[in-house]
């Protein structure tokens, strides 16, 4: 097709799908946090990086492998997020939302700066767990086992988050508090605690994505900084109104990016931003957003 081998096409589609999985998980966390806290968490990229570094520390210093890292890193980074929320973010809720953006931007700079100073910017390798070596032969292409796992796991995580928020009682409280927090509090639900835990959860989700990214990309202090800007564009395209929207946009844009690498590689860095501009022209609220 168009003189491009199916091998290359499916190869890039797979990479696109993997990138899309990370965009989806990160924009999901951003959307959940924004929904309840009304804060765009600029630290999200740095927390994704922290997740990857946690996995690396666990393996290098304590000999704790990938599976435990999947559990421990999000908890550790989530607790770190809760501390940030309690000590700093919670002072800003009555102010303009922009202050939340500026504060989290500052925290992101501190984290990235400290990690760059101690670990350099070249990136550290994270060894793939042995269970994942090898690939599935699909006939038209080879699918490395770990990549298959990332796609399946991220789909499960996204679906799980969607299920909790849209189909459980806890999620109903969360959605109610998003609409009208004082009223929910008047019904006897501890909204401030819910806000804290939501931030911790969103941050944990970023860290989980970071652990999953560690074996694919190298563990690098700036891995989140470059990611977060793309994820912002994803969030603008999808609009933050719906959880499902964030997931679909994330995966969709990953695939668009992958296809661009095949047909017009020069634009692969910028295609998501171009899509954002087009969406803004046609539907300023975003594909799944609603005007507020």
């Amino acid at each position: 097709m168009f003189g491009i081998s199916t091998q290359a096409l499916f190869g890039q589609l797979l990479i696109g799908l993997i990138n899309g999985a990370f965009y989806a998980m990160l924009s999901l966390g951003l959307a959940v946090i924004f929904g309840l806290l009304n804060i765009i968490n600029f630290t999200h990229g740095a927390q994704y990086m922290l997740g990857a570094f946690c996995a690396w520390f666990l393996l290098q210093w304590l000999g704790i492998g990938y599976w435990w890292a999947l559990l421990l890193a999000p908890i550790a980074v989530g607790i770190f997020g809760i501390v940030i929320e309690r000590t700093m973010l919670s002072r800003l809720y009555k102010l303009d939302h922009l202050y939340g953006l500026l504060l989290t931007f500052g925290i992101a700079l501190i984290l990235q700066g400290v990690f760059t100073n101690y670990f350099g910017s070249s990136g550290l390798p994270y060894t793939l767990p042995p269970e994942f070596s090898g690939a599935f032969d699909l006939g038209f292409m080879y699918l490395p086992k770990y990549r298959a796992w990332v796609i399946i796991a991220s789909l499960l995580i996204c679906f799980g988050t969607w299920f909790v928020i849209e189909r459980t009682k806890l999620g109903a409280y969360l959605r109610a508090a998003t609409e009208n927090a004082p009223l929910v509090q008047a019904f006897g639900i501890n909204v401030p605690r819910m806000v804290t835990l939501t931030y911790g959860f969103g941050v944990g989700l970023a860290a989980l994505a970071g652990v999953m990214a560690a074996p694919i990309y190298t563990v690098n202090p700036l891995m989140g900084a470059n990611m977060i800007i793309v994820v912002f564009a994803v969030v603008v395209i999808g609009g933050m109104g719906s959880i499902l929207g964030a997931i679909l946009t994330g995966f969709g844009l990953g695939i668009v990016e992958g296809l661009t690498k095949v047909f017009y590689p020069e634009a692969s860095n910028t295609v998501i931003f171009v899509v954002m501009v087009l969406v803004l022209l046609v539907k300023p609220a975003g594909l799944f957003g609603r005007e507020r």
Binding site: R91, L101, L102, I110, V114, A225, L280
Partner: protein, 344 residues
């Protein structure tokens, strides 16, 4: 959108006497400093960034719009004026004008897109578009990628005044910074500063502040809010471009540093630290930040630990956190509030 700065803005309107005295002191300090032995290159850098921050403050402090991509205007103007001076051989004033015009054009396009959303979305959109612009400059050949456009000739202003550095007669091999260049930059900075002051106190500036405080109300009074916001955006982009173009001629260099997102963050920091919505705040903020960077580039030792240039990011982040948590009015805003309390 509610106003991020309305509390600071109350103290931000110095009476005209205070403004005149303040401006006179500022201009006198900048005019005399190189004669008193302060390094002119440092001061020219401060003035370029002060102009950049003042232009940014016009949009954030008075329009209430937080752009997180203003580096694209600084960088675009820098590249265009450097290219104009080096490849086309234009005189410095024309090179600066063409860079500024390029930033203005980009401002029209980006502004028209970005003002379709407000608040947090506005910040994210400007950041994303700036990243797109960054990738464009990374790949397009005329910017020379990582090297940047180097050895840009300064040329002669209006064909009369040579702007290049002169050889030092007492130290062979060394050069003296050109004072003609210095006073040219000072003239640009003061001119733009007065223009910004004029805009803020014009009917246009007042409508802009009204929109910042209460957009639906301004709309109901018959003001076309989108047009005012777009005009403020373009004006801010143009003046940022003027800063970037001047900077490229002064430092004879246009590089990727000026289009990166870190630069967009830096101008936010200068404005926040100095005082959003205050006329002198961005100048003070730029002076402090450039001063810190200058000090750190040599490395300073505190409590037995040496902090070098690589700590700039950490310190920048730290100042952000402190400003947002404890110091939201910024240096000039806090001084104004203190003065108002004292005289109350």
């Amino acid at each position: 959108m509610s106003a991020p700065v309305s509390s600071a803005a109350a103290f931000a309107q110095p009476s005209s006497t205070v403004f005149v005295i303040g401006t006179a002191v500022m201009v006198a300090l900048f005019a005399l400093a190189p004669l008193l032995g302060v390094y002119p290159v440092f001061l020219m850098k401060v003035m370029c960034f002060a102009l950049f921050a003042c232009a940014f403050n016009l949009l954030l402090g008075y329009g209430g719009l937080l752009s997180f991509g203003h580096a694209m205007f600084l960088g675009t103007a820098g590249y265009v004026s450097a290219h104009a001076a080096k490849a086309w051989g234009l005189a410095p004033e024309l090179a600066i004008l063409s860079g500024t015009a390029a930033a203005a054009l980009l401002g029209i396009v980006v502004g028209a897109l970005a003002i379709r959303r407000q608040g947090i979305y506005f910040a994210m959109i400007t950041l994303a578009i700036a990243q797109m612009v960054y990738f464009f400059y990374l790949q397009t050949p005329f910017t020379h990628g990582e090297d940047g456009i180097q050895a840009v000739p300064r040329g002669a202003l209006f064909g009369l005044f040579d702007l290049s550095d002169t050889a030092d007669p007492t130290h062979p091999g060394k050069t003296n910074s050109s004072l003609v260049m210095y006073y040219f930059v000072l003239a640009i900075f003061v001119g733009a500063f007065l223009l910004i002051h004029r805009v803020i106190h014009s009917p246009f500036g007042n409508v802009l502040k009204a929109i910042r405080e209460n957009e639906p109300r301004a709309l109901s009074l018959g003001y076309d809010a989108e047009r005012y916001k777009l005009l403020a955006f373009v004006l801010s982009a143009t003046l940022s471009g003027l800063a970037g173009a001047t900077k490229a001629i002064v430092f004879q260099l246009a590089s990727l540093t000026d289009v990166q997102w870190q630069m967009s963050g830096e101008v936010v920091l200068m404005t926040l630290l100095g005082g959003m919505g205050t006329i002198f705040g961005p100048v003070v903020g730029a002076f402090v930040i450039i001063g810190i960077e200058n000090y750190l580039s040599a490395g300073i030792t505190l409590f037995g630990v040496t902090f070098g240039a690589q700590w700039v990011t950490v310190i920048t982040g730290f100042i952000f956190v402190v400003c947002v948590l404890a110091f939201r009015r910024g240096i000039v805003g806090e001084l104004g509030a203190w003065w108002a309390r004292r005289n109350a």
